[in-house]
């Protein structure tokens, strides 16, 4: 981890000041989440009063759980995220392999076209994509939520870089043993790119778990809604807003990701770092 930090580390008063600054910012950063925890675990009367001796309660969670079919939303979200990731892994691997190791006319043009999606995400084209989905007869299905994202430009880009760094000798060696191109992909390239796959998987899962606008438009019924849309439908009613229940519902929907993140912090951070380095 040494990278000049020892050389240029701050000392003395500056160091104390910096530590203080960093900590204040850190506390500020956690504040909204802490606030949400406070409100969710205490009865409604204490949602705005910070009496430290206030009684804890799980009632808000129970009421939130009863008020909307969150179990079903969880199932939908897990199905969506899994479906998208599985499709992405396959499509992205094949495409990246093609770009990295094959010469064919139009390769550069096609790669440029792929990069377009980095800028112009399906979210921006909601009106047209919605029209396409209805033409395909896929409105209000989980498949429809995931389909526009399955060919992920980010994934293709990432994996292409990774595959390019695989030494050609390994490729040739496998070829000598009689492997066809696809077998070479499976035996040589994929295993070597495993850390990148993990990184990509984590990025993809958090992105699609948290995606909102497109799922809002495409899903209509309870059987299709993912958690984000379910939470919005639940808390957007014109009724008197009960913050305790809404924060409880909010924590419920974010709990899986949050817990996974806390347990696998290091991997999460490494993944995002790796994804960015490329």
């Amino acid at each position: 981890m040494s990278n000049g930090t020892q050389v240029y580390a701050s000392r003395g008063a500056t160091h104390a000041l910096e530590t203080a600054g960093a900590w204040v910012l850190g506390l500020l950063w956690m504040l909204p989440l802490v606030y949400a925890f406070w409100t969710a675990f205490h009865p409604a009367e204490f949602s705005t009063r910070f009496d430290l001796l206030a009684p804890l309660t799980l009632e808000n969670f129970r009421r939130a759980w009863d008020a909307a079919p969150f179990a079903r939303y969880f199932v939908n979200t897990v199905m969506l995220v899994t479906m998208v990731l599985a499709a992405q892994l396959v499509l992205v691997t094949l495409a990246a392999y093609a770009f990295a190791r094959f010469e064919f006319p139009g390769r550069n043009l096609l790669f440029a076209l792929v990069l377009v999606q980095l800028m112009v995400m399906p979210d921006v084209l909601i009106v047209e994509n919605y029209r396409t989905m209805s033409a395909l007869g896929l409105r209000d299905t989980i498949l429809a939520i995931g389909l526009p994202y399955m060919a992920s430009a980010f994934g293709i880009f990432l994996l292409r870089q990774t595959f390019k760094t695989v030494p050609r000798e390994l490729d040739d060696a496998a070829r000598v043993e009689g492997c066809g191109p696809v077998q070479v992909l499976w035996k040589v390239y994929v295993p070597l790119a495993r850390p990148v796959y993990l990184a990509y998987a984590l990025v993809s899962v958090s992105f699609h778990w948290n995606n909102f606008l497109w799922p809002l438009i495409v899903s209509n019924s309870v059987e299709t809604r993912p958690l984000t849309v379910g939470l919005q439908v639940f808390s957007a009613t014109d009724q008197g807003i009960d913050w305790s229940i809404i924060t409880a519902a909010t924590l419920l929907t974010t709990a899986p990701l949050l817990i996974a993140f806390l347990l696998f912090q290091k991997q999460f951070v490494q993944s995002f770092m790796r994804a960015g380095l490329k």
Binding site: N3, G4, T5, Q6, V7, Y8, T19, G21, A22, G26, L27, W29, L31, P32, L33, A36, T39, S47, A95, Y97, A98, F99, L110, L113, V116, Q117, L118, M119, M121, V124, L125, V127, E128, N129, T132, L147, P148, M150, A151, S206, W209, N210, F212, L213, I217, T228, L231, Q232, S235, A236, I246, T247, T253, T254, L257, L258, F261, V269, F272, M273
Partner: protein
């Protein structure tokens, strides 16, 4: 492998991904342009060619201009702030500050939460009279303020939420870049007597340029793509003070069902993103020449 075999394999491997990309990115972009020249089909009435009518409406629409300028202000407000904060956080977390593991956790957590959830929590935060922010400002002696209900502060409040959510995400990339810097650079600079600030300005920051570029592009795209918080916190109000382009497109297309006008609006958004892409491309070209 023979050349034709290469071609065949290349194309076949690429086909599935390309097909989906074409269907959901390239085709819609073109189709949007096409549909923006027609009227909206309603009930039994089919769409009719109307030329530039939708664009004329767009130019005369005060709400569009409001959404457009809001989005520009929004970008100007969130992009530099989140990048600067991200860099600061990365430097701190990278240094010898005690408890930096926890700090990194604190800074990064907002990123993995869905914006919808975040927006709900912040909505509570901003509630006038007894929201948390109010309680803090009141303890400092300020009067009550309607944060989300005043045109002067509503957009700024949304910007704060966005920066809070994004800074940690960008921090990670800076962290990666900082950690991959060779330690010899610092040693060499120290030997030459460079000050800490000097070292940062002349060595670290230029070396971070690729990361900054990457983060910048991401930030710009997000400034135009993320409207979840508008849906939850203000629904575009008060009086369109927080309406952003994509949110307006969503309103026009899916609440008022005026798909032709929505197509014209989308073209504006695509044009902006296209400009950004060109700028990034041009900048990259310039840099590679210097390498």
């Amino acid at each position: 492998m023979t050349r034709s075999a290469q071609w065949l394999y290349g194309w076949l491997l690429l086909l599935p991904a390309m097909a989906l990309l074409a269907l959901f990115t390239h085709y819609p972009a073109v189709a949007t342009l096409w549909h923006s020249f027609f009227s909206t089909p309603k009930g039994a009435r089919p769409a009719v060619f109307v030329g530039l009518d939708n664009y004329r409406n767009l130019v005369e629409d005060p709400v569009f201009w409001q959404a457009f300028s809001n989005n520009l202000w929004f970008a100007a407000g969130t992009i530099p702030a989140s990048i600067a904060l991200a860099l600061l956080m990365a430097v701190w977390v990278n240094g010898r500050i005690r408890g930096r593991g926890l700090l990194r956790l604190a800074y990064f957590t907002p990123t993995i939460l869905p914006m919808i959830a975040v927006a709900n929590i912040w909505l509570f935060f901003y509630t006038p009279e007894y929201g948390l922010l109010e309680q803090v400002t009141r303890s400092f002696g300020f009067g009550t303020h309607n944060w989300l209900g005043s045109q002067s502060t509503a957009l700024a409040c949304l910007m704060v939420v966005t920066v809070w959510k994004e800074a940690g995400f960008f921090m990670i990339f800076y962290l990666a870049a900082l950690q991959s810097m060779s330690p010899h650079l610092a040693e060499a600079a120290a030997i030459e007597g460079a000050s800490r600030w000097h070292f940062f300005r002349r060595v670290t920051f230029p070396l971070l340029m690729p990361t900054t570029l990457f983060v910048l592009v991401n930030a710009v795209i997000n400034a135009f793509r993320l409207v979840d918080h508008v849906v939850v916190m203000t629904r575009g109000g008060p009086d369109n003070a927080t309406s952003l382009l994509l949110y307006y497109i969503y309103e026009i297309g899916f609440r008022f069902w005026d798909s032709a006008y929505a197509a014209a609006l989308t073209m504006v958004l695509l044009a902006i993103l296209g400009l950004v892409a060109l700028a990034q491309f041009a900048f990259l070209e310039k840099r590679t020449h210097y390498q």
